[in-house]
């Protein structure tokens, strides 16, 4: 037992000599010293000498908070050959000498604090640091710009990467955009080279048209199962010539890539620069598969197969499951735009008053991107979906869904102010005599060059900004009546528009919750993945080894998505920089002889650290089940310990025996 004076910090209000003298008589204490600065080299040497001389089996240092110097003294103990977890600190500075001024009172309290910890240490067991081997491969879920960036960074850092994308091509929403703010550079020009880089990278394995089926394991040792959906085209034979797409007779399927503004065939490549450039058969819409589903014995069509010179079209292909071992997981599933229509999932309310879906010229921001895009359905000309006319007056409405608790979303979608400003500029650059009118709540342009960009839209490109909201819009002959209110002038603003563009909210992908549950990561009330700490650990999740990047965390623009993706990649590479991971051994263990297999622990464990283990009798037959804690996953909170009805779980370092010893020792005063 060693008492530190901490110069005068402790000694001023605690009589350190009396503490060490009193504790010298305590059962089990063989050495009791006090010293001016225990954490100094001579102080640590005192501890080491005493351990060696007396063969101590436990050390208590009464000094500052364990948060301050526990590691210091545990290291000192380890150097003297004592298991570091047999060394504990009694906090007589922060929680005693600094908060009291009566010396007798403070000294009495200090003695009790030390006695408590001595009693605890008597029950401490030597623990060994847990070493977990690391598989130096990562999986990135989602092939949008965030996933692409994360995959490239990790692969360039020297580790193998598996990139999984649920769509037939990587590229995500960024591939749909026309130009990007605040530079107005072409989105595809900066994205497609990166997509090709991913495809050709020797350390990246790409699985498109695939989804994560299941995840097992823990940090450094995950086993993931990927479902490769049946593409109906043999990837190894296809050359991407496009003969099959040209041959397909069913051509009236809404094209998702063009935000349903154009039509595509049933066998298709989502867009010309798709990576990989391999078509996929949309079995839901294909005549042949629809016929098969109805039980027709003879196939109704087969044009694509006939047209393929490489014989790559394969109607009999089935989903395959691929198992991969990885050490780290990056979630980059991105976002979906809020759908403005009447029917909304998850209890959100729609904007029926906007008649979106009923008036064809009321479109959302993504649709406008496609109209403005050179690769879009109009070849980059701004034309109304209804009659193909060039609109002379467009009303842009900001905050549709966002910042509207009434409709179920309170957060700001962050990117809309900027892309609306961009839309007005793109429109005015293409239609010089066009009028761009923006209804806004506030302009939030807090990024490098962002405010200047919005000013440019207003001052140079003549966008008219009206502060106010829209109550309804309806068709009136050839125009759309937009009924709003200008809150700055206090007057109603009724505008006859040729077209209306709604800046819809950014929402997390529908299936991300399911993914989060699979990975035991937390998500917020809206379904965005939560970071382990909003400030200090922004790209980690509460599950060790699972990282997060891009808009699946919160609405993000392209620079933000790339920044978080690179951050997540650097975290992964940091983890991969050593061959094994060290973990504090303060984890829970199950006494399998008394466990009744009720799995109450499993229900309360925030980390999914409990696994089921079969118990066999002497004939090798399974006769029961018990719980087991996976040490690599357990973070040591101890909630399972307090929950276990049969008292079969212990938390190493904080066992019931240790805590009861503390309580018993405390209340002898």
């Amino acid at each position: 037992m060693f008492v530190c004076h901490c110069g005068e910090n402790i000694a001023r209000t605690v009589d350190c000599a009396r503490v060490s003298e009193t504790l010298a008589d305590h059962p089990g204490v063989v050495v009791s010293l006090d010293y001016k600065y225990m954490c100094s080299d001579p102080g640590q040497n005192l501890v080491k000498q005493a351990i060696e001389e007396h063969g101590l089996t436990g050390v208590v240092v009464a000094a500052c908070s364990p948060h301050m110097h526990e590691k210091t003294f545990r290291r000192a103990a380890a150097r003297a050959g004592l298991n570091p977890f047999l060394c504990e600190m009694a906090n007589i500075r922060e929680q005693c000498s600094w908060i009291h001024d009566d010396k007798v009172e403070a000294t009495d309290k200090a003695i009790e604090i030390v006695r408590t910890i001595v009693e605890k240490v008597k029950n401490n067991a030597p623990l060994e640091t847990i070493h977990i081997p690391v598989t130096k491969r990562a999986i990135v879920i989602g092939g949008g710009i965030a996933g692409i960036q994360a995959a490239l960074d990790i692969a360039d850092g020297g580790a193998d990467v598996i990139l999984v994308e649920k769509e037939p091509s990587i590229g995500g929403h960024m591939s749909q955009l026309s130009e990007t703010f605040p530079t107005l550079d072409c989105s595809q020009c900066i994205l497609t080279p990166r997509m090709v880089e991913v495809y050709q990278h020797p350390r990246i394995t790409l699985h498109t048209y695939s989804e994560l089926e299941s995840v097992e394991g823990f940090i450094g040792n995950f086993t993931v199962t990927i479902r490769k959906k049946a593409r109906s085209v043999d990837e190894s034979l296809c050359t991407g010539c496009g003969d099959c797409t040209a041959a397909c007779p069913s051509r009236k399927i809404p094209n998702e890539f063009d935000a349903n503004l154009s039509l595509r065939p049933a066998i298709y490549v989502p867009f010309p620069q798709a990576v990989p450039n391999i078509p996929v058969i949309d079995r839901e819409h294909c005549t042949l598969f629809k016929g098969r589903a109805k039980g027709r014995e003879k196939d109704l069509c087969g044009k694509c197969k006939e047209s393929c010179l490489r014989n790559a079209v394969d109607y009999e292909q089935v989903d395959t499951l691929v198992k991969e071992h990885v050490g780290a997981i990056v979630i980059a599933t991105g976002f979906v735009p809020y759908s403005v229509g009447r029917d909304q999932p998850d209890g959100l309310k729609g904007y029926a008053e906007f008649n979106y879906g009923e008036i064809p010229d009321v479109i959302d921001g993504l649709q406008f991107e496609r109209l403005a895009s050179a690769s879009g359905p109009t070849g980059g000309e701004i034309r109304r979906p209804s009659d193909g006319k060039v609109p002379k007056r467009i009303v842009f409405v900001q905050c549709v869904g966002s910042r509207d608790p009434e409709k179920g979303i309170s957060y700001c979608s962050k990117i809309c102010c900027m892309y609306v400003a961009k839309h007005t500029m793109l429109y005015r650059h293409k239609v010089h005599d066009g009028e761009a009118i923006v209804f806004y709540m506030d302009i939030r342009a807090a990024g490098k060059g962002y405010e200047e960009f919005v000013r440019r839209a207003i001052e140079e490109d003549g966008a008219q900004y009206i502060r106010g909201r829209i109550s309804r819009m309806y068709r009136d002959g050839d125009v759309i009546k937009v009924v709003g209110f200008d809150t700055l002038s206090g007057e109603p603003a009724i505008i006859d528009a040729d077209m209306v563009v709604l800046a819809t909210a950014v929402r997390p992908h529908k299936r991300v919750k399911q993914l989060a549950r699979m990975l035991s990561t937390a998500y917020d009330q809206y379904g965005f993945i939560s970071a382990a700490h909003p400030k200090l650990r922004p790209v980690e999740t509460n599950t060790a080894g699972v990282f997060v990047a891009g808009a699946c965390m919160s609405p993000s623009d392209i620079p933000d998505s790339i920044a978080t993706a690179s951050a997540a990649a650097s975290k992964v590479l940091g983890m991969f920089s050593s061959d094994d991971l060290e973990r504090e051994p303060t984890v829970a263990i199950v006494n399998e002889r008394t466990c009744i297999g009720c799995y109450s622990c499993e229900r309360v464990c925030p980390y999914g650290a409990i696994e089921h283990v079969d118990v066999c009798n002497r004939d090798g037959e399974i006769c029961g089940h018990v719980a087991r804690v996976v040490p690599g996953v357990c973070q040591g909170c101890g909630t399972c310990v307090a929950t276990c009805p049969s008292k079969s779980v212990e938390l190493l370092g904080f066992t019931d025996e240790q805590i009861f010893a503390e309580i018993n020792a405390l209340l002898t005063w």
């Binding site: 059962p27 436990g58 908070s65 001024d101 309360v604 904080f654």
Partner: protein, 176 residues
């Protein structure tokens, strides 16, 4: 506050605090670093998380002669382990019912959230609990069940409740 403590009565409550390592223990450290003076009646037992708190710890503390207990951890949504504090809260709600049944006034237990930055709140929790328990008087209901050992003596004298600690004390080897 101190004057009140000294003048109110001779009774000095004994209070055991079960706190989590990440929020309240750090908050209590912060109170120390900020030199916030407070009543000296509280003894802290550090646990990784309030989720680790077994109701038996609280009962044991009262059985051993505590007059009051403080439970404090991270604020809702701030738990270092995501959800341990929620489990602690649920458990405590059930436990409160049980306390009356066991003859312990639920007012003897303070349940609170103190974050790592709330040194002042920790001081207030400590002082308020001490004041309240002082007014309630000593907790004597369990005296017949567990004889309290004389001050300063080791727990060896306790014959009422044998436990693992005694065994280890009896065979104590060379500990420091």
């Amino acid at each position: 506050m101190r004057e009140m403590i000294e003048t109110a009565t001779d009774f000095e409550p004994r209070i055991t605090a079960f706190v989590c390592n990440w929020c309240t223990y750090t908050g209590a450290d912060m109170a120390g670093t900020s030199r916030m003076h407070m009543a000296s009646n509280v003894r802290i037992i550090r646990l990784p998380c309030t989720g680790r708190i077994d109701a038996l710890f609280i009962i044991k503390a009262f059985e051993r002669g505590a007059d009051g207990v403080i439970i404090s951890g991270c604020h809702p949504a701030d738990c270092h382990y995501t959800a341990g504090n929620y489990h602690a809260r649920r458990r405590f709600i059930v436990f409160r019912e049980l306390m009356s049944f066991m003859g312990i006034d639920p007012d003897r237990v303070t349940f609170s959230w103190v974050s790592a930055g709330e040194g002042a709140k920790w001081r207030d929790v400590v002082n308020d609990t001490v004041t309240r328990i002082r007014e309630m008087g000593p907790f004597t209901a369990y005296h017949d069940l567990a004889q309290r050992p004389a001050a300063g003596s080791a727990i060896l004298t306790d014959v009422a409740i044998p436990d693992a600690t005694e065994a280890s004390v009896a065979e104590a080897g060379g500990e420091s």
